[in-house]
Protein backbone atom coordinates (compact mmCIF):
# COMPACT_ATOMS: atom_id res chain seq x y z
CA UNK A 1 0.00 0.00 0.00
CA UNK A 2 2.90 2.35 0.79
CA UNK A 3 4.21 2.06 -2.76
CA UNK A 4 0.71 2.52 -4.17
CA UNK A 5 0.46 5.71 -2.14
CA UNK A 6 3.89 6.74 -3.45
CA UNK A 7 2.53 6.31 -6.99
CA UNK A 8 -0.57 8.29 -6.05
CA UNK A 9 1.70 11.00 -4.65
CA UNK A 10 3.52 11.11 -8.01
CA UNK A 11 0.20 11.49 -9.83
CA UNK A 12 -0.69 14.34 -7.47
CA UNK A 13 2.41 16.15 -8.76
CA UNK A 14 1.71 15.14 -12.36
CA UNK A 15 3.06 18.27 -14.06
CA UNK A 16 6.53 18.40 -12.50
CA UNK A 17 6.83 14.61 -12.49
CA UNK A 18 5.70 14.52 -16.14
CA UNK A 19 8.30 17.12 -17.14
CA UNK A 20 11.01 15.18 -15.30
CA UNK A 21 10.00 11.94 -17.00
CA UNK A 22 9.97 13.68 -20.38
CA UNK A 23 13.49 15.02 -19.80
CA UNK A 24 14.70 11.52 -18.92
CA UNK A 25 12.85 10.04 -21.92
CA UNK A 26 14.39 12.51 -24.37
CA UNK A 27 17.88 11.98 -22.96
CA UNK A 28 17.52 8.19 -23.13
CA UNK A 29 16.14 8.44 -26.69
CA UNK A 30 19.13 10.62 -27.64
CA UNK A 31 21.61 8.24 -26.03
CA UNK A 32 20.10 5.17 -27.68
CA UNK A 33 19.67 7.09 -30.95
CA UNK A 34 23.38 7.92 -31.04
CA UNK A 35 24.07 4.29 -30.26
CA UNK A 36 21.75 3.17 -33.09
CA UNK A 37 23.40 5.53 -35.58
CA UNK A 38 26.84 4.39 -34.40
CA UNK A 39 26.08 0.68 -34.71
CA UNK A 40 24.02 1.28 -37.86
CA UNK A 41 26.93 3.12 -39.49
CA UNK A 42 29.34 0.42 -38.38
CA UNK A 43 27.10 -2.36 -39.68
CA UNK A 44 26.48 -0.41 -42.87
CA UNK A 45 30.23 -0.04 -43.45
CA UNK A 46 30.93 -3.65 -42.51
CA UNK A 47 28.09 -4.89 -44.74
CA UNK A 48 29.41 -3.00 -47.75
CA UNK A 49 31.89 -5.66 -48.68
CA UNK A 50 31.68 -9.34 -47.97
CA UNK A 51 33.43 -12.37 -49.43
CA UNK A 52 36.39 -10.36 -50.76
CA UNK A 53 39.66 -11.59 -49.29
CA UNK A 54 41.99 -8.82 -50.46
CA UNK A 55 41.79 -5.40 -52.05
CA UNK A 56 44.78 -4.47 -54.16
CA UNK A 57 45.77 -0.96 -55.18
CA UNK A 58 48.73 1.32 -55.62
CA UNK A 59 50.79 1.68 -52.45
CA UNK A 60 49.23 4.25 -50.13
CA UNK A 61 47.48 3.76 -46.81
CA UNK A 62 45.25 0.78 -46.13
CA UNK A 63 42.37 2.97 -44.92
CA UNK A 64 42.72 5.23 -47.95
CA UNK A 65 42.64 2.23 -50.31
CA UNK A 66 39.56 0.85 -48.56
CA UNK A 67 37.80 4.24 -48.66
CA UNK A 68 38.31 4.98 -52.32
CA UNK A 69 37.91 1.44 -53.67
CA UNK A 70 34.86 0.38 -51.66
CA UNK A 71 33.24 3.53 -50.27
CA UNK A 72 34.05 5.92 -53.13
CA UNK A 73 35.49 8.36 -50.60
CA UNK A 74 38.62 10.19 -51.68
CA UNK A 75 40.81 9.34 -54.63
CA UNK A 76 43.61 7.01 -55.55
CA UNK A 77 47.02 8.67 -55.75
CA UNK A 78 48.14 6.20 -58.35
CA UNK A 79 46.94 3.31 -60.50
CA UNK A 80 47.97 -0.31 -60.89
CA UNK A 81 49.27 -1.17 -64.35
CA UNK A 82 47.31 -3.66 -66.39
CA UNK A 83 50.40 -5.87 -66.59
CA UNK A 84 50.66 -6.07 -62.82
CA UNK A 85 46.95 -6.78 -62.62
CA UNK A 86 47.29 -9.67 -65.09
CA UNK A 87 50.35 -10.90 -63.23
CA UNK A 88 48.42 -11.09 -59.96
CA UNK A 89 45.38 -12.62 -61.71
CA UNK A 90 47.61 -15.38 -63.08
CA UNK A 91 48.85 -16.46 -59.65
CA UNK A 92 47.67 -19.98 -58.74
CA UNK A 93 46.40 -18.90 -55.31
CA UNK A 94 44.02 -16.33 -56.86
CA UNK A 95 40.55 -17.78 -57.30
CA UNK A 96 39.01 -14.68 -58.85
CA UNK A 97 39.96 -11.06 -59.41
CA UNK A 98 37.79 -8.09 -60.37
CA UNK A 99 39.30 -4.83 -61.64
CA UNK A 100 37.89 -1.45 -60.67
CA UNK A 101 38.54 1.75 -62.54
CA UNK A 102 37.46 5.01 -60.94
CA UNK A 103 37.97 8.62 -61.86
CA UNK A 104 35.02 9.82 -63.90
CA UNK A 105 31.62 10.91 -62.72
CA UNK A 106 28.04 11.52 -63.74
CA UNK A 107 26.43 14.46 -61.92
CA UNK A 108 27.17 13.82 -58.23
CA UNK A 109 27.73 10.09 -58.73
CA UNK A 110 30.98 8.19 -59.34
CA UNK A 111 31.45 6.14 -62.51
CA UNK A 112 33.12 2.79 -61.98
CA UNK A 113 34.59 0.65 -64.74
CA UNK A 114 34.66 -3.08 -64.06
CA UNK A 115 33.98 -6.45 -65.64
CA UNK A 116 31.02 -8.84 -65.63
CA UNK A 117 32.87 -10.71 -62.85
CA UNK A 118 32.05 -7.84 -60.51
CA UNK A 119 28.37 -8.80 -60.54
CA UNK A 120 29.33 -12.39 -59.88
CA UNK A 121 31.82 -11.87 -57.05
CA UNK A 122 30.90 -8.63 -55.34
CA UNK A 123 28.94 -9.54 -52.20
CA UNK A 124 27.45 -7.36 -49.51
CA UNK A 125 25.54 -7.87 -46.23
CA UNK A 126 26.86 -11.35 -45.38
CA UNK A 127 27.11 -12.73 -48.89
CA UNK A 128 24.21 -11.18 -50.82
CA UNK A 129 24.75 -10.74 -54.55
CA UNK A 130 23.79 -7.77 -56.65
CA UNK A 131 20.51 -8.19 -58.48
CA UNK A 132 19.04 -6.19 -61.32
CA UNK A 133 15.68 -4.63 -60.46
CA UNK A 134 15.01 -3.53 -64.03
CA UNK A 135 16.76 -4.29 -67.37
CA UNK A 136 19.95 -6.31 -67.77
CA UNK A 137 23.68 -6.18 -67.02
CA UNK A 138 25.75 -4.31 -69.66
CA UNK A 139 25.39 -5.94 -73.05
CA UNK A 140 27.04 -3.35 -75.25
CA UNK A 141 30.24 -1.31 -74.94
CA UNK A 142 28.22 1.83 -74.19
CA UNK A 143 25.77 0.21 -71.78
CA UNK A 144 25.71 1.13 -68.13
CA UNK A 145 24.11 -0.32 -65.03
CA UNK A 146 23.16 2.23 -62.41
CA UNK A 147 22.60 1.97 -58.67
CA UNK A 148 19.16 2.40 -57.12
CA UNK A 149 19.92 5.87 -55.71
CA UNK A 150 21.26 7.11 -59.04
CA UNK A 151 18.03 6.03 -60.73
CA UNK A 152 15.73 7.46 -58.06
CA UNK A 153 17.65 10.74 -57.62
CA UNK A 154 18.02 11.50 -61.31
CA UNK A 155 14.74 9.84 -62.37
CA UNK A 156 16.47 7.48 -64.80
CA UNK A 157 14.82 4.49 -66.44
CA UNK A 158 16.18 1.69 -68.62
CA UNK A 159 17.24 2.96 -72.08
CA UNK A 160 17.76 6.53 -70.86
CA UNK A 161 21.00 8.14 -72.11
CA UNK A 162 23.81 9.07 -69.75
CA UNK A 163 26.77 11.33 -70.54
CA UNK A 164 29.79 10.75 -68.34
CA UNK A 165 31.87 13.74 -67.18
CA UNK A 166 35.66 13.60 -67.23
CA UNK A 167 37.03 13.44 -63.71
CA UNK A 168 35.12 14.49 -60.63
CA UNK A 169 33.08 17.71 -60.34
CA UNK A 170 34.11 18.50 -63.88
CA UNK A 171 32.35 20.51 -66.57
CA UNK A 172 34.06 18.56 -69.36
CA UNK A 173 31.90 15.74 -70.59
CA UNK A 174 32.41 12.74 -72.84
CA UNK A 175 29.53 13.98 -74.96
CA UNK A 176 30.62 12.11 -78.05
CA UNK A 177 30.26 8.72 -76.35
CA UNK A 178 26.91 8.71 -74.51
CA UNK A 179 25.90 5.62 -72.58
CA UNK A 180 22.53 3.88 -72.40
CA UNK A 181 21.07 2.64 -69.11
CA UNK A 182 20.78 -1.10 -69.62
CA UNK A 183 19.86 -1.98 -66.05
CA UNK A 184 19.00 -0.59 -62.64
CA UNK A 185 20.23 -2.49 -59.59
CA UNK A 186 18.14 -3.36 -56.51
CA UNK A 187 18.86 -1.14 -53.53
CA UNK A 188 21.72 -2.52 -51.44
CA UNK A 189 22.32 0.15 -48.79
CA UNK A 190 25.96 0.32 -50.00
CA UNK A 191 27.89 2.84 -52.14
CA UNK A 192 26.88 0.69 -55.15
CA UNK A 193 23.50 2.43 -54.95
CA UNK A 194 25.27 5.68 -55.81
CA UNK A 195 27.50 4.28 -58.56
CA UNK A 196 27.26 4.28 -62.36
CA UNK A 197 28.82 1.02 -63.53
CA UNK A 198 30.34 0.63 -66.98
CA UNK A 199 32.73 -1.89 -68.51
CA UNK A 200 36.53 -1.52 -68.29
CA UNK A 201 36.59 -1.26 -72.10
CA UNK A 202 34.06 1.57 -71.95
CA UNK A 203 36.41 3.56 -69.69
CA UNK A 204 39.09 3.18 -72.38
CA UNK A 205 36.56 3.96 -75.11
CA UNK A 206 35.51 7.32 -73.74
CA UNK A 207 39.15 8.33 -73.37
CA UNK A 208 40.18 7.45 -76.93
CA UNK A 209 40.17 11.11 -77.91
CA UNK A 210 41.79 12.26 -74.69
CA UNK A 211 45.40 12.78 -73.83
CA UNK A 212 46.98 14.09 -70.65
CA UNK A 213 43.59 14.70 -69.06
CA UNK A 214 42.22 16.85 -71.89
CA UNK A 215 40.41 16.16 -75.12
CA UNK A 216 42.57 16.32 -78.21
CA UNK A 217 41.27 19.39 -80.07
CA UNK A 218 39.17 18.57 -83.12
CA UNK A 219 39.32 14.80 -82.58
CA UNK A 220 36.10 12.85 -82.20
CA UNK A 221 36.24 9.19 -83.06
CA UNK A 222 32.83 7.76 -84.04
CA UNK A 223 31.38 5.09 -81.74
CA UNK A 224 31.39 2.44 -84.51
CA UNK A 225 35.09 2.95 -85.03
CA UNK A 226 35.75 2.76 -81.30
CA UNK A 227 33.87 -0.55 -81.09
CA UNK A 228 36.37 -2.07 -83.53
CA UNK A 229 39.38 -0.72 -81.62
CA UNK A 230 41.57 -2.66 -79.20
CA UNK A 231 40.32 -1.41 -75.83
CA UNK A 232 42.52 -3.29 -73.38
CA UNK A 233 42.83 -1.19 -70.21
CA UNK A 234 46.18 0.38 -69.46
CA UNK A 235 45.65 0.53 -65.72
CA UNK A 236 43.15 -0.19 -62.95
CA UNK A 237 42.47 1.81 -59.82
CA UNK A 238 42.09 -1.24 -57.60
CA UNK A 239 41.18 -4.91 -57.73
CA UNK A 240 39.04 -7.11 -55.52
CA UNK A 241 40.60 -10.53 -55.01
CA UNK A 242 39.26 -13.87 -53.83
CA UNK A 243 41.81 -16.54 -52.87
CA UNK A 244 41.59 -20.26 -53.49
CA UNK A 245 41.95 -21.04 -49.79
CA UNK A 246 41.73 -18.67 -46.79
CA UNK A 247 45.05 -20.11 -45.66
CA UNK A 248 46.71 -18.50 -48.67
CA UNK A 249 45.41 -15.01 -47.93
CA UNK A 250 48.38 -13.77 -45.90
CA UNK A 251 50.94 -15.32 -48.23
CA UNK A 252 49.28 -13.65 -51.21
CA UNK A 253 49.04 -10.36 -49.35
CA UNK A 254 52.76 -10.49 -48.56
CA UNK A 255 53.62 -11.40 -52.13
CA UNK A 256 51.64 -8.47 -53.51
CA UNK A 257 53.05 -6.04 -50.94
CA UNK A 258 56.55 -7.16 -51.99
CA UNK A 259 55.75 -7.11 -55.71
CA UNK A 260 59.01 -6.04 -57.34
CA UNK A 261 57.66 -4.46 -60.55
CA UNK A 262 55.72 -1.64 -58.91
CA UNK A 263 54.74 -0.55 -55.39
CA UNK A 264 51.44 -2.21 -54.56
CA UNK A 265 49.36 -2.61 -51.47
CA UNK A 266 47.07 -5.52 -50.60
CA UNK A 267 44.74 -5.12 -47.66
CA UNK A 268 42.30 -7.35 -45.81
CA UNK A 269 39.00 -5.42 -45.86
CA UNK A 270 38.07 -6.44 -42.28
CA UNK A 271 41.42 -5.35 -40.86
CA UNK A 272 41.30 -2.03 -42.72
CA UNK A 273 37.78 -1.47 -41.39
CA UNK A 274 39.04 -2.05 -37.87
CA UNK A 275 41.78 0.51 -38.54
CA UNK A 276 39.13 2.93 -39.77
CA UNK A 277 37.09 2.40 -36.58
CA UNK A 278 40.23 3.02 -34.59
CA UNK A 279 40.53 6.43 -36.27
CA UNK A 280 36.88 7.45 -35.90
CA UNK A 281 36.67 5.76 -32.49
CA UNK A 282 37.65 8.92 -30.58
CA UNK A 283 34.88 11.00 -32.16
CA UNK A 284 32.50 8.11 -31.66
CA UNK A 285 33.40 7.86 -27.96
CA UNK A 286 33.10 11.64 -27.57
CA UNK A 287 29.63 11.60 -29.12
CA UNK A 288 28.57 8.78 -26.83
CA UNK A 289 30.02 10.59 -23.82
CA UNK A 290 28.09 13.77 -24.68
CA UNK A 291 24.82 11.86 -24.95
CA UNK A 292 25.59 10.03 -21.68
CA UNK A 293 26.12 13.44 -20.07
CA UNK A 294 22.66 14.46 -21.29
CA UNK A 295 21.22 11.42 -19.46
CA UNK A 296 23.18 12.38 -16.32
CA UNK A 297 21.86 15.96 -16.61
CA UNK A 298 18.28 14.69 -16.82
CA UNK A 299 18.83 12.53 -13.75
CA UNK A 300 20.30 15.49 -11.86
CA UNK A 301 17.18 17.41 -12.93
CA UNK A 302 15.12 14.66 -11.33
CA UNK A 303 17.19 14.96 -8.17
CA UNK A 304 16.52 18.73 -8.13
CA UNK A 305 12.79 18.09 -8.59
CA UNK A 306 12.71 15.69 -5.64
CA UNK A 307 14.77 18.14 -3.57
CA UNK A 308 12.44 21.04 -4.29
CA UNK A 309 9.40 18.92 -3.44
CA UNK A 310 10.77 17.93 -0.03
CA UNK A 311 9.61 21.05 1.82
CA UNK A 312 6.08 20.88 0.48
CA UNK A 313 6.01 17.18 1.34
CA UNK A 314 7.03 17.55 4.99
CA UNK A 315 3.37 17.25 5.98
CA UNK A 316 3.08 13.98 4.05
CA UNK A 317 6.23 12.62 5.69
CA UNK A 318 5.02 13.68 9.18
CA UNK A 319 1.71 11.85 8.59
CA UNK A 320 3.59 8.70 7.64
CA UNK A 321 5.82 9.06 10.69
CA UNK A 322 2.86 9.59 13.03
CA UNK A 323 1.24 6.44 11.64
CA UNK A 324 4.38 4.49 12.59
CA UNK A 325 6.52 4.69 9.43
CA UNK A 326 10.23 4.43 10.10
CA UNK A 327 12.56 7.08 8.62
CA UNK A 328 13.96 4.29 6.43
CA UNK A 329 10.46 3.79 4.98
CA UNK A 330 10.41 7.48 4.02
CA UNK A 331 13.84 7.08 2.39
CA UNK A 332 12.67 3.94 0.59
CA UNK A 333 9.58 5.69 -0.73
CA UNK A 334 11.61 8.53 -2.24
CA UNK A 335 14.10 6.13 -3.83
CA UNK A 336 11.19 4.06 -5.18
CA UNK A 337 9.60 7.20 -6.65
CA UNK A 338 12.87 8.12 -8.35
CA UNK A 339 13.33 4.59 -9.73
CA UNK A 340 9.78 4.62 -11.01
CA UNK A 341 10.27 8.00 -12.72
CA UNK A 342 13.57 6.82 -14.21
CA UNK A 343 12.03 3.53 -15.40
CA UNK A 344 9.01 5.21 -16.98
CA UNK A 345 11.32 7.83 -18.51
CA UNK A 346 13.68 5.19 -19.90
CA UNK A 347 10.83 3.10 -21.35
CA UNK A 348 9.25 6.21 -22.86
CA UNK A 349 12.69 7.04 -24.26
CA UNK A 350 12.86 3.65 -25.97
CA UNK A 351 9.35 4.20 -27.37
CA UNK A 352 10.40 7.66 -28.64
CA UNK A 353 13.51 6.13 -30.20
CA UNK A 354 11.50 3.57 -32.16
CA UNK A 355 8.92 6.17 -33.21
CA UNK A 356 11.83 8.38 -34.32
CA UNK A 357 13.42 5.49 -36.21
CA UNK A 358 10.20 4.74 -38.10
CA UNK A 359 10.04 8.38 -39.21
CA UNK A 360 13.78 8.96 -39.76
CA UNK A 361 14.75 5.62 -41.36
CA UNK A 362 13.79 6.47 -44.97
CA UNK A 363 14.98 10.09 -44.61
CA UNK A 364 18.42 9.08 -43.29
CA UNK A 365 18.69 6.38 -45.93
CA UNK A 366 17.94 8.86 -48.71
CA UNK A 367 20.12 11.65 -47.34
CA UNK A 368 23.17 9.69 -46.15
CA UNK A 369 22.73 6.16 -47.55
CA UNK A 370 22.75 4.96 -43.96
CA UNK A 371 20.29 2.17 -43.21
CA UNK A 372 19.20 2.20 -39.57
CA UNK A 373 17.62 -1.17 -38.84
CA UNK A 374 14.49 -1.28 -36.67
CA UNK A 375 15.13 -4.41 -34.64
CA UNK A 376 13.67 -5.61 -31.35
CA UNK A 377 15.35 -3.97 -28.34
CA UNK A 378 18.74 -5.54 -27.71
CA UNK A 379 20.31 -6.57 -24.42
CA UNK A 380 22.36 -3.37 -24.63
CA UNK A 381 19.16 -1.29 -24.73
CA UNK A 382 17.75 -3.23 -21.78
CA UNK A 383 21.00 -2.67 -19.91
CA UNK A 384 20.72 1.08 -20.63
CA UNK A 385 17.21 1.04 -19.12
CA UNK A 386 18.45 -0.87 -16.07
CA UNK A 387 21.45 1.47 -15.83
CA UNK A 388 19.22 4.57 -15.92
CA UNK A 389 16.96 3.10 -13.19
CA UNK A 390 20.00 2.29 -11.02
CA UNK A 391 21.50 5.73 -11.64
CA UNK A 392 18.10 7.24 -10.76
CA UNK A 393 18.15 5.32 -7.47
CA UNK A 394 21.69 6.52 -6.74
CA UNK A 395 21.03 10.22 -7.44
CA UNK A 396 17.76 10.05 -5.47
CA UNK A 397 19.72 8.96 -2.40
CA UNK A 398 20.87 12.57 -1.92
CA UNK A 399 17.34 14.05 -1.43
CA UNK A 400 16.15 10.79 0.16
CA UNK A 401 18.84 11.02 2.85
CA UNK A 402 17.80 14.62 3.47
CA UNK A 403 14.18 13.49 3.78
CA UNK A 404 15.37 10.76 6.16
CA UNK A 405 17.10 13.35 8.36
CA UNK A 406 14.12 15.72 8.11
CA UNK A 407 11.71 12.98 9.13
CA UNK A 408 13.84 12.23 12.20
CA UNK A 409 14.03 15.93 13.11
CA UNK A 410 10.38 16.72 12.41
CA UNK A 411 9.00 13.50 13.86
CA UNK A 412 5.23 13.71 13.73
CA UNK A 413 5.16 17.49 13.98
CA UNK A 414 3.50 18.66 10.83
CA UNK A 415 5.45 21.55 9.32
CA UNK A 416 3.19 23.70 7.20
Amino acid sequence: MTFRLAIASLFARALTVGMTILAIALSVALFLGVEKVRTGAKASFADTISGTDLIVGARSGSVQLLLYSVFRIGNATNNVTWESYLDIAARPDVDWIVPISLGDSHRQFRVMGTTQAFFEHYKYRQGRSLTVADGVIMDDLFDTVIGADVASTLGYNVDDPIVVAHGLASFTEHKDQPFRVSGILEKTGTPIDRTVIVSMEAIEAIHVDWQGGAQIPGQSTPADVIRRMELTPKAVTAALVGVESPLQTFALQRAINEYPEEPLLAILPGVALQELWGIVGIAETALLAVSAMVVVTALIGMMATIFSSLNERRREMAIFRAMGARPLTILGMLVFEAMLMAAVGALLGVALLYAGLVIAQPLVDNAFGLWLPIDAPTIREFSVIVGVVCAGAIVSLVPALRAYRMSIADGMMVQT
Partner: protein
Protein backbone atom coordinates in the same frame (compact mmCIF):
# COMPACT_ATOMS: atom_id res chain seq x y z
CA UNK B 1 -6.81 16.67 28.68
CA UNK B 2 -3.50 18.46 28.38
CA UNK B 3 -4.11 22.19 28.67
CA UNK B 4 -1.56 24.84 27.84
CA UNK B 5 -0.88 28.06 26.03
CA UNK B 6 0.89 28.18 22.71
CA UNK B 7 4.60 27.57 23.25
CA UNK B 8 4.06 25.78 26.55
CA UNK B 9 5.60 22.56 25.20
CA UNK B 10 2.41 20.58 24.42
CA UNK B 11 3.56 19.34 21.02
CA UNK B 12 7.02 18.49 22.40
CA UNK B 13 5.39 16.43 25.14
CA UNK B 14 3.26 14.62 22.53
CA UNK B 15 6.37 13.88 20.48
CA UNK B 16 8.03 12.48 23.60
CA UNK B 17 5.00 10.27 24.30
CA UNK B 18 4.96 9.08 20.68
CA UNK B 19 8.69 8.39 20.81
CA UNK B 20 9.59 10.55 17.81
CA UNK B 21 11.93 12.57 20.03
CA UNK B 22 13.85 11.39 23.09
CA UNK B 23 14.36 13.25 26.36
CA UNK B 24 17.89 14.34 27.24
CA UNK B 25 17.28 12.81 30.67
CA UNK B 26 14.55 10.82 32.39
CA UNK B 27 12.21 8.16 30.97
CA UNK B 28 8.84 8.09 29.18
CA UNK B 29 6.52 5.29 30.32
CA UNK B 30 3.46 4.43 28.23
CA UNK B 31 1.24 1.64 29.59
CA UNK B 32 4.20 0.12 31.41
CA UNK B 33 6.65 0.38 28.51
CA UNK B 34 9.68 2.63 28.80
CA UNK B 35 9.76 3.99 25.27
CA UNK B 36 13.13 5.66 25.83
CA UNK B 37 14.66 2.22 26.32
CA UNK B 38 13.43 1.02 22.92
CA UNK B 39 15.44 1.22 19.70
CA UNK B 40 14.32 3.69 17.02
CA UNK B 41 12.58 0.97 15.01
CA UNK B 42 10.91 -0.49 18.11
CA UNK B 43 9.65 2.98 19.11
CA UNK B 44 8.13 3.44 15.65
CA UNK B 45 6.52 0.01 15.88
CA UNK B 46 5.28 0.76 19.43
CA UNK B 47 3.71 4.02 18.21
CA UNK B 48 2.06 2.25 15.27
CA UNK B 49 0.68 -0.55 17.48
CA UNK B 50 -0.35 1.43 20.56
CA UNK B 51 -1.23 4.98 19.53
CA UNK B 52 -3.80 6.49 17.17
CA UNK B 53 -3.07 10.11 16.22
CA UNK B 54 -5.51 12.88 15.27
CA UNK B 55 -3.80 16.01 14.03
CA UNK B 56 -4.88 19.59 14.49
CA UNK B 57 -5.83 19.92 10.83
CA UNK B 58 -6.70 16.23 10.45
CA UNK B 59 -3.91 15.90 7.87
CA UNK B 60 -5.12 13.22 5.55
CA UNK B 61 -2.97 12.21 2.61
CA UNK B 62 -4.74 14.28 -0.07
CA UNK B 63 -3.87 11.92 -2.94
CA UNK B 64 -5.06 8.81 -1.10
CA UNK B 65 -8.65 7.57 -0.91
CA UNK B 66 -10.64 7.54 2.34
CA UNK B 67 -9.91 3.79 2.53
CA UNK B 68 -6.15 4.38 2.02
CA UNK B 69 -6.08 6.98 4.79
CA UNK B 70 -8.00 4.86 7.29
CA UNK B 71 -5.90 1.74 6.63
CA UNK B 72 -2.56 3.59 6.66
CA UNK B 73 -1.63 2.89 10.35
CA UNK B 74 -2.22 -0.85 9.85
CA UNK B 75 0.53 -0.89 7.21
CA UNK B 76 3.09 -0.31 9.99
CA UNK B 77 1.36 -2.27 12.80
CA UNK B 78 1.05 -6.02 12.11
CA UNK B 79 -0.62 -6.84 15.45
CA UNK B 80 -3.12 -4.02 15.09
CA UNK B 81 -3.79 -5.31 11.56
CA UNK B 82 -4.36 -8.82 12.91
CA UNK B 83 -6.72 -7.47 15.58
CA UNK B 84 -8.68 -5.63 12.90
CA UNK B 85 -9.53 -8.78 10.91
CA UNK B 86 -11.16 -7.71 7.65
CA UNK B 87 -9.58 -4.25 7.49
CA UNK B 88 -11.65 -2.97 4.55
CA UNK B 89 -14.90 -4.05 6.22
CA UNK B 90 -13.80 -2.48 9.51
CA UNK B 91 -12.94 0.79 7.72
CA UNK B 92 -16.39 0.83 6.10
CA UNK B 93 -17.99 0.02 9.47
CA UNK B 94 -16.12 2.90 11.16
CA UNK B 95 -17.25 5.28 8.41
CA UNK B 96 -20.85 4.24 9.01
CA UNK B 97 -20.47 4.62 12.77
CA UNK B 98 -19.01 8.08 12.26
CA UNK B 99 -21.92 9.09 10.08
CA UNK B 100 -20.09 9.17 6.77
CA UNK B 101 -21.99 8.16 3.61
CA UNK B 102 -21.25 4.58 2.54
CA UNK B 103 -20.05 5.57 -0.94
CA UNK B 104 -17.36 7.88 0.45
CA UNK B 105 -14.87 5.08 1.08
CA UNK B 106 -13.26 5.28 -2.39
CA UNK B 107 -13.42 9.08 -2.62
CA UNK B 108 -10.15 11.03 -2.67
CA UNK B 109 -9.40 12.72 0.67
CA UNK B 110 -8.94 16.10 -0.99
CA UNK B 111 -12.54 15.94 -2.22
CA UNK B 112 -14.00 15.78 1.32
CA UNK B 113 -15.52 18.61 3.34
CA UNK B 114 -13.79 19.67 6.59
CA UNK B 115 -16.39 17.79 8.64
CA UNK B 116 -15.85 14.62 6.61
CA UNK B 117 -12.09 14.96 6.97
CA UNK B 118 -12.52 15.18 10.76
CA UNK B 119 -14.45 11.94 10.80
CA UNK B 120 -11.99 10.15 8.52
CA UNK B 121 -9.14 11.31 10.80
CA UNK B 122 -11.00 9.83 13.78
CA UNK B 123 -11.59 6.56 11.91
CA UNK B 124 -7.88 6.40 11.04
CA UNK B 125 -6.96 6.82 14.71
CA UNK B 126 -9.51 4.25 15.89
CA UNK B 127 -8.88 1.44 13.43
CA UNK B 128 -7.40 -1.63 15.09
CA UNK B 129 -8.42 -0.32 18.54
CA UNK B 130 -5.13 1.16 19.76
CA UNK B 131 -5.11 1.55 23.56
CA UNK B 132 -4.36 5.27 23.31
CA UNK B 133 -5.65 8.05 21.05
CA UNK B 134 -3.69 11.29 20.97
CA UNK B 135 -5.55 14.27 19.56
CA UNK B 136 -3.52 17.43 19.01
CA UNK B 137 -5.95 20.40 19.25
CA UNK B 138 -8.47 18.82 16.87
CA UNK B 139 -11.15 21.41 17.66
CA UNK B 140 -9.07 24.57 17.46
CA UNK B 141 -10.30 25.51 14.02
CA UNK B 142 -13.98 24.79 14.73
CA UNK B 143 -16.79 27.02 16.02
CA UNK B 144 -18.37 26.23 19.39
CA UNK B 145 -21.25 24.18 17.95
CA UNK B 146 -18.99 22.08 15.76
CA UNK B 147 -16.54 21.64 18.65
CA UNK B 148 -19.27 20.14 20.86
CA UNK B 149 -20.54 17.85 18.12
CA UNK B 150 -17.01 16.65 17.31
CA UNK B 151 -16.23 15.96 20.99
CA UNK B 152 -19.53 14.05 21.36
CA UNK B 153 -18.55 11.89 18.42
CA UNK B 154 -14.99 11.39 19.69
CA UNK B 155 -16.10 10.45 23.22
CA UNK B 156 -18.73 8.05 21.90
CA UNK B 157 -16.21 6.30 19.68
CA UNK B 158 -13.38 6.08 22.24
CA UNK B 159 -15.88 4.70 24.75
CA UNK B 160 -17.22 2.15 22.26
CA UNK B 161 -13.68 1.07 21.37
CA UNK B 162 -12.47 1.17 24.98
CA UNK B 163 -9.67 3.48 24.09
CA UNK B 164 -8.03 6.14 26.28
CA UNK B 165 -7.99 9.65 24.88
CA UNK B 166 -5.30 12.24 25.47
CA UNK B 167 -6.35 15.51 23.94
CA UNK B 168 -4.27 18.63 23.77
CA UNK B 169 -5.98 22.02 23.82
CA UNK B 170 -5.38 25.60 24.78
CA UNK B 171 -9.12 26.12 25.43
CA UNK B 172 -9.87 25.75 29.20
CA UNK B 173 -13.66 25.64 28.55
CA UNK B 174 -13.28 22.11 27.16
CA UNK B 175 -11.73 20.90 30.42
CA UNK B 176 -15.06 20.14 32.10
CA UNK B 177 -15.77 17.40 29.56
CA UNK B 178 -12.68 15.39 30.46
CA UNK B 179 -12.00 13.06 33.42
CA UNK B 180 -8.67 14.68 34.06
CA UNK B 181 -7.11 18.01 33.06
CA UNK B 182 -3.37 18.51 33.29
CA UNK B 183 -2.10 22.05 32.91
CA UNK B 184 1.29 22.32 31.23
CA UNK B 185 2.39 25.03 33.65
CA UNK B 186 1.77 22.54 36.47
CA UNK B 187 4.08 19.87 35.05
CA UNK B 188 6.61 21.71 32.92
CA UNK B 189 8.84 24.72 33.14
CA UNK B 190 9.80 26.15 29.78
CA UNK B 191 13.16 27.84 29.49
CA UNK B 192 13.78 29.33 26.09
CA UNK B 193 17.14 30.70 25.17
CA UNK B 194 16.79 34.03 23.41
CA UNK B 195 17.93 33.80 19.85
Amino acid sequence: MLLGESGSGKSTLLSLICGTILPDQGTVNIAGTDVTALSGGARDRFRAEQIGVIFQQFNLLPFGSVMDNILLPLRFAPERRKRTGDAAAEAAHLCTELGLPSDIIQAKANALSVGQQQRVAVARALIGQPPLIIADEPTSALDAGSQAAFLDLLFAQTKAHETSLLMVSHDPRLGERFDRVIRMEGIAQIDRTAA
